[in-house]
C-alpha cells in the first residue's frame, strides 16, 4: 500500500477502518510520516490512543510492533536478551578438543538472540517499515526514557558481541501516554505532539455507529448523550470513549434499542468504575435518561 499523500487521504483511510478521529490527529500523523518523526499522543484513558496506532499500521499496510511499558522495564525486556540456557547447553555439549574461540563466536550469533520489540522494529526485512507502538510510556522510568531518546535519534542499536544494527527504514513510531507522570521534555522534543480530546456528541455517535454497529441508531445516540452528560459531572474517573462503546454493546446485548432508567441502572458499571461515582450517579439516573433521550 502506498503512503498517504495528503491529510484528506489519512482522514479517509482512518475512517474506512472505522477510526473516527479529528482533523488535528490526521494532520499530526501526516506530518509525522513526512518528517519521519515519532508521534507522541497523549489523552485521558480510553480516548483511542492505542487504537490510532493499530489503525495506522493497517492504513500503511505495515506490521504493528507493540511495546507495553511498565515500571522497571529494561533493555532485556525491550531490546534483546541472549538465550542463556541454550548457550550454556551448547557450550557444555562441546567436546574437550574443540576450539573455544569458534564456540564463543557461535553462541553469540543471532541464532542465540532473543529478539524483543525494539530490536525487531529496527532490524527486520519488512517491505514496509513497521509501526512501532510504545504504549503507556508514563509507566516506565527515567532510565528507559533516556534509552529511548537515544534510540529515536539515530534508530540504531548496538549489541557488543554482534555490532551496531541500523534500521534500513526507520519505523513509524507512535508513543502514547496517560499522563500518570510527566514524560521528560527532551523526549517529547524529538516528537510531534497530539492531544486527543473527548469527542463531541456528533462525533461520539459516529464512533459508536462505526465501532459498535450492533447498537441501533437511537441507542447509539442516547448512550453517547448519556456519557457526554457524565463527563460534565465531578467524577473520580470520567468515562472515555472505550466505556461508551462497552456500554452501547452491553445494552445492545440485552436487546435494547432505546435506553430507560432500569436498563441504565443495571449497566452503569460499564461506564463508571468507582463505587463512589456509581453511588453518586445512581440517584440521578432517571433525570439523566430523560435528558439523553431528548438529545
Amino acid at each position: 500500500m502506498t503512503a498517504p499523500a495528503s491529510i484528506d487521504e489519512i482522514e479517509l483511510r482512518l475512517r474506512e477502518r472505522r477510526y473516527i478521529g479529528d482533523r488535528g490527529l490526521a494532520t499530526s500523523i501526516f506530518l509525522a510520516l513526512k518528517l519521519e518523526k515519532p508521534l507522541f499522543i497523549e489523552g485521558e484513558a480510553g480516548v483511542g490512543k492505542t487504537e490510532a496506532a493499530k489503525v495506522m499500521a493497517e492504513v500503511l499496510g505495515a506490521r504493528l510492533i507493540r511495546l507495553q511499558c511498565y515500571e522497571g522495564i529494561d533493555l532485556a525486556h525491550a531490546v534483546y536478551e541472549w538465550n542463556y540456557p541454550r548457550q550454556l547447553l551448547h557450550i557444555r555439549l562441546l567436546g574437550e578438543g574443540e576450539d573455544r574461540r569458534t564456540a564463543e563466536r557461535e553462541i553469540f550469533s543471532p541464532e542465540f538472540l532473543l529478539r524483543r520489540p525494539l530490536l525487531d522494529a529496527i532490524d527486520n526485512d519488512d517491505v514496509t517499515a513497521p509501526v512501532l507502538l510504545i504504549d503507556e510510556i508514563d509507566r516506565s522510568d527515567e532510565e528507559f526514557e533516556a534509552f529511548l531518546l537515544e534510540l529515536l535519534s539515530d534508530f540504531q542499536i548496538s549489541i557488543p558481541e554482534i555490532g551496531t544494527i541500523k534500521a534500513k527504514k526507520p519505523p513509524f513510531v507512535v508513543i502514547t501516554s496517560n499522563r500518570t507522570r510527566e514524560v521528560h521534555d527532551a523526549l517529547k522534543r524529538r516528537c510531534l505532539y497530539h492531544w486527543i480530546d473527548y469527542p463531541n456528541l456528533e462525533k461520539e455517535v459516529e464512533i459508536v455507529r462505526a465501532r459498535a454497529p450492533e447498537a441501533a441508531d437511537g441507542l447509539a445516540r442516547e448512550v453517547a448523550a448519556l456519557v457526554q452528560g457524565l463527563r460534565t459531572m465531578e467524577l473520580y474517573k470520567v468515562p472515555g470513549v472505550a466505556e461508551t462503546l462497552d456500554w452501547a454493546r452491553s445494552l445492545a446485548a440485552l436487546g435494547a434499542t432505546r435506553i430507560d432508567a432500569t436498563l441504565v441502572d443495571a449497566t452503569l458499571g460499564a461506564a463508571l468504575k468507582y463505587q463512589e461515582d456509581l453511588e453518586k450517579i445512581r440517584q440521578q439516573v432517571p433525570a439523566m435518561v430523560e435528558k439523553a433521550r431528548g438529545a
Binding site: G24, L35, D74, L88
Partner: protein
C-alpha cells in the same frame, strides 16, 4: 514556498512562542518550516494543526498556543471588544514589557494582546462564603531578605532525606535473587560451569512527596514560610506542590525556578486566591479527581497543610480524605495551630479530618518542619496501621 515572507514571519511567531515560555529553538523552527511544505497553507485549520503538533508538547500548552496563533496569524478585528472571540480569552504569559513590544510589533492594542486582564475583574459566583473570593495578588516582600535567606539556608541544609521505597528495577547486589544474565555470562566464559552466582535486588528510590497547602486567609501568617519550605524541598526531593483556598492550583513548575524570590513571585502571580476563604473538601475533591492519578504513583507521601478552618461541607471533607488515603502511602496533616499552647483540634474541619490522617503534626516554626523532616526520613516501607 508560496509566500516569500512566510519564513521570517514563522521566525517571528517562534519568537513570540519563546517569549510565552515555549521551547521554540532552531530545531523546532526547522521542523515547522519543513512541516509547512507538506500542507495546504490556505487551509487555516491544517496550518494551525501543523504548527501546533510541532511546537506544543504538553496539554497545558495548547490554550496558550491557540491564543498566540490567534494573535499572530489571525489578529482579531481591532474594533472587536476584548474577549469577543468565544473560548479564546486566555492570555499569553508574557512579561509586561514583552507584551507591549509585541502589541506594537503586531499593531494591536494592549487589550487584544492580554485579554485575561479583563477576565480577572469578573467577580466570583454567588457560592456562599466564597462569594468574595479575593482575586488579588499577594506581595511576598514583607519578609526581609535576610530572614528569607536564613530560613531557606536552614531548610536546604536540613540533614534529612525522604524515606525510600523499592522500585521494580533491579540492580546488582551482594545478596538477593539470582541474576541469571550475569551468572550465565560468567559461566559461558568458564566453559559452562556455574562457578559463581551473581545476585541482584530492587533499586531503592526516595518516595515522591505531594504537598497540598492551604493558603486561605486564616493561614496567611504561615503561607509565606510554607512556600519557602516547599521551594527548599523542591530543590532536592521529588515534590509535587499544590495550594488552595477556594480552589486548587498546581505550583510544581513554578517552584522549580532556582531563585527563591523569582519562584515566590511566580507563585503569587499564578495563584489568584491567596487569602480567600477555605473549602478543604472541595479542594481535596479537585485533587482526587484531577491530579491523584497523575501524581500519586510510586508510593507517594501526601502532606496536607491547613489549620482546618473550613467553610465547606465536613462530610465531603471526610469522604475525600478516605479516598485520598487509599491512594497515598501515608497521609500527613500539618497544622500550624498545633504549636500554640492549649490548642485543641476542635474546628469543624479538623474534627472531620483527624480520624483519617495517619499523622497529625505541628508546622508553626522551623523546629516543627525539622521534626517533620526526620519523620519523613524514618518512614516505614509498609503503609501505616489504619
Amino acid at each position: 514556498m508560496p509566500e516569500p515572507d512566510l519564513l521570517p514571519r514563522l521566525g517571528a511567531f517562534a519568537r513570540l512562542l519563546h517569549d510565552a515560555g515555549f521551547e521554540a529553538g532552531p530545531r523546532r523552527l526547522t521542523d515547522a518550516t519543513r512541516a509547512l511544505t507538506f500542507i495546504d497553507l490556505k487551509n487555516e485549520p491544517d496550518f494551525r494543526g501543523a504548527l501546533r503538533s510541532v511546537f506544543v508538547s504538553r496539554k497545558d500548552e495548547i490554550a496558550t498556543f491557540e491564543a498566540a496563533f490567534d494573535i499572530f496569524w489571525a489578529p482579531p478585528d481591532p474594533r472587536a471588544t476584548a474577549g469577543a472571540l468565544p473560548g479564546r480569552s486566555r492570555a499569553l504569559p508574557l512579561s509586561p514589557e514583552r507584551a507591549k513590544a509585541w502589541a506594537i510589533a503586531l499593531g494591536l492594542n494592549n487589550s487584544q494582546m492580554n485579554r485575561e486582564h479583563d477576565a480577572r475583574t469578573v467577580p466570583a459566583t454567588s457560592s456562599g462564603y466564597s462569594a468574595e473570593e479575593l482575586l488579588r495578588h499577594k506581595d511576598f516582600d514583607t519578609m526581609t531578605w535576610e530572614e528569607t535567606e536564613q530560613v531557606r539556608r536552614l531548610l536546604e541544609q536540613a540533614p534529612w532525606r525522604v524515606a525510600e521505597r523499592k522500585t521494580r528495577r533491579l540492580r546488582a547486589a551482594r545478596s538477593g535473587t539470582i541474576d541469571l544474565r550475569r551468572t550465565a555470562r560468567h559461566a559461558i566464559r568458564s566453559s559452562g560451569e556455574l562457578v559463581r552466582l551473581f545476585r541482584r535486588r530492587p533499586r531503592m528510590r526516595r518516595r515522591p512527596l505531594v504537598l497540598v497547602c492551604d493558603v486561605s486567609g486564616s493561614m496567611e501568617r504561615y503561607s509565606r514560610l510554607l512556600m519557602i519550605f516547599a521551594h527548599a524541598i523542591a530543590r532536592r526531593e521529588d515534590l509535587e506542590a499544590f495550594v488552595f483556598s477556594t480552589r486548587l492550583t498546581r505550583i510544581t513548575r513554578l517552584l522549580r525556578q532556582r531563585d527563591l524570590d523569582r519562584a515566590l513571585v511566580s507563585v503569587s502571580k499564578g495563584v489568584h486566591d491567596f487569602s480567600g476563604g477555605t473549602r478543604i473538601g472541595e479542594a481535596l475533591g479537585d485533587f482526587n479527581r484531577h491530579w491523584a492519578r497523575r501524581v500519586l504513583g510510586h508510593g507517594a507521601v501526601v502532606i496536607i497543610v491547613s489549620d482546618g478552618w473550613d467553610r465547606g461541607d465536613p462530610e465531603q471533607l471526610t469522604s475525600e480524605l478516605i479516598h485520598l488515603r487509599r491512594s497515598a502511602h501515608r497521609l500527613i496533616w500539618l497544622n500550624p495551630l498545633l504549636g500554640s499552647d492549649g490548642y485543641q483540634p476542635l474546628t469543624r474541619g479538623m474534627v472531620a479530618a483527624l480520624p483519617y490522617c495517619d499523622d497529625f503534626l505541628a508546622a508553626h516554626n522551623l523546629q516543627a518542619l525539622d521534626d517533620l523532616g526526620r519523620m519523613l526520613a524514618g518512614l516505614d516501607s509498609r503503609p501505616a496501621m489504619r
